[in-house]
């Protein structure tokens, strides 16, 4: 059993839950597409997506709690292992990325299928770009933050006051991350940018909006507002993730176990 399969084994319940959720959601939408109106189903899909996508935050929470739970005993055996902190942190981070990567890929895939059935057309790179965006800009940093928080609380067992400080520090980290994003957007325009994608909504939608009888291309609508999509959040997210992981590895190597 290596460290990665250990993590898989530890979090079977969470993984199973997410898998079940995706399967149920996909089945429900399939019924809507096959038996009902695909366009309405698409609306439902996007609406429910807003509800279940944030459930991904469960993964960093569970990873942090697992660390806290291990403080009772297993952590002693893990800390005294000569394996470097990088392998331990890497295994947990790797699991988190795998689980959420697959989760969001599944959600993206299902929405893509429903949208295609509803007649929405878009640039092929859009779904993978959205997936990568989500993963790098918010999933990875949140996972890394969860690991750092879990390590601080489990290794240093701060008292009530200390835990408030830890939460405040986490909030501060999130604020810092947001500030960095804005800074990058405002001042780092040399960073690569994505073109605005063509998203062509079917005729029914155009007719509904009282526009033309032809498919509505969102690109033409958005172009006057912005010329391209910044990738700054991606870079900031990557930077924040790497910084937090470095902190996590350092914590692992130096942390105490009482």
């Amino acid at each position: 059993m290596n460290l990665f399969t250990l993590e898989l084994r530890k979090h079977r319940l969470l993984i199973g839950g997410l898998v079940l959720l995706v399967l149920v959601w996909a089945a429900w939408l399939t019924r809507g597409v096959v038996n009902g109106d695909p366009l309405i189903t698409l609306g439902l899909a996007l609406g429910t997506l807003l509800a279940i996508a944030p459930l991904g935050v469960l993964v960093p929470i569970v990873l942090a709690r697992a660390l806290f739970g291990e403080a009772g005993g297993p952590l002693a055996f893990l800390f005294t292992s000569p394996r470097s902190g990088l392998t331990h942190v890497g295994a947990r981070m790797g699991l988190g990325l795998l689980v959420l990567g697959v989760y969001y890929a599944a959600l993206t895939g299902v929405v893509h299928w429903v949208a295609a059935a509803a007649g929405v057309r878009y640039d092929a790179w859009l779904p993978p770009a959205l997936w990568a965006y989500g993963l790098l800009a918010w999933v990875a940093p949140l996972l890394a933050l969860g690991l750092v928080y879990g390590l601080v609380v489990s290794a240093y067992r701060p008292g009530r006051g200390g835990q408030i400080v830890a939460v405040a520090a986490s909030a501060g980290a999130v604020a810092l991350w947001q500030w960095m994003g804005r800074f990058a957007l405002d001042h780092l325009s040399f960073l690569p940018r994505l073109p605005i994608p063509h998203v062509v909504l079917p005729e029914e939608v155009s007719r509904l909006l009282g526009l033309s009888n032809v498919g509505l291309d969102l690109k033409t609508a958005l172009e006057p507002l912005m010329s391209s999509v910044p990738t700054a959040p991606l870079w900031v997210g990557l930077l924040v993730t790497l910084a937090l992981l470095a902190v996590a590895v350092r914590l692992w190597e130096e942390a105490e176990w009482a």
Binding site: M1, N2, L3, L6, R9, K10, G72, G73, P74, A76, F77, L78, F79, T80, S81, P82, R83, E253, E254, E256, W257, A258
Partner: protein, 226 residues
Amino acid sequence: MLVEMSEVTRRFGGTVAVDGLTLALPEGEVVGLLGTNGAGKSTTLKLLAGLLYPDAGEVRLDGAPPRRARGAIAFLPERGQMYEWLDVKGAAGLFGTLYPDFRPERFHELLGQLEVPRRSLAQMSKGQRARFLLAATLARKARLYLLDEPLGGVDLITRDRILAALVSEWREDATYVLSTHEVAEAEGIFDRAVFMKEGRVVLSASAEELRERGQSVAQAFREVLA
């Protein structure tokens, strides 16, 4: 000297667990770390294992901080817990991954010697779990074994088996430090007895020398720590 602790102090909140403790242990000895409850034995073992850092003073294993040399240290905590779902096969795999010096064949031999059933940890009694973790710890080929109350909370026969297993595992080139309350039962295996009181070492003596002078380790315990 393999292990050197000089003027080590460690506090937890308001309590001083270890107070200016100085201790030097040569290589290759079986050392009994003895003292009443609250004397600081557990804290000392964790400081030696590198799981705790001193507030003052230095802990050195072969001249280096123990956390850096952690590959050579095998620590068994007093109330060791492991993942409940772990069974023999899983443990062998996990310990093999965590510790390059883990010997699976020795692990299975020790499990037999200590009469540990082949079940998951959740299905074992407290004593069986303790022996399971002891077997996993002794199955490592480490230079320094730190065992916190390996004889604690188990019946007489089991304690006897644990002592026999410790002797059978003994190697000339390894150092063993174990804390125990069962002084009379365990003293036969000690080369040295270190007596602690209120976070300090009050006596460090060769067990056989104590006996030459007419005192068993248990008798010395009563005299020094009463």
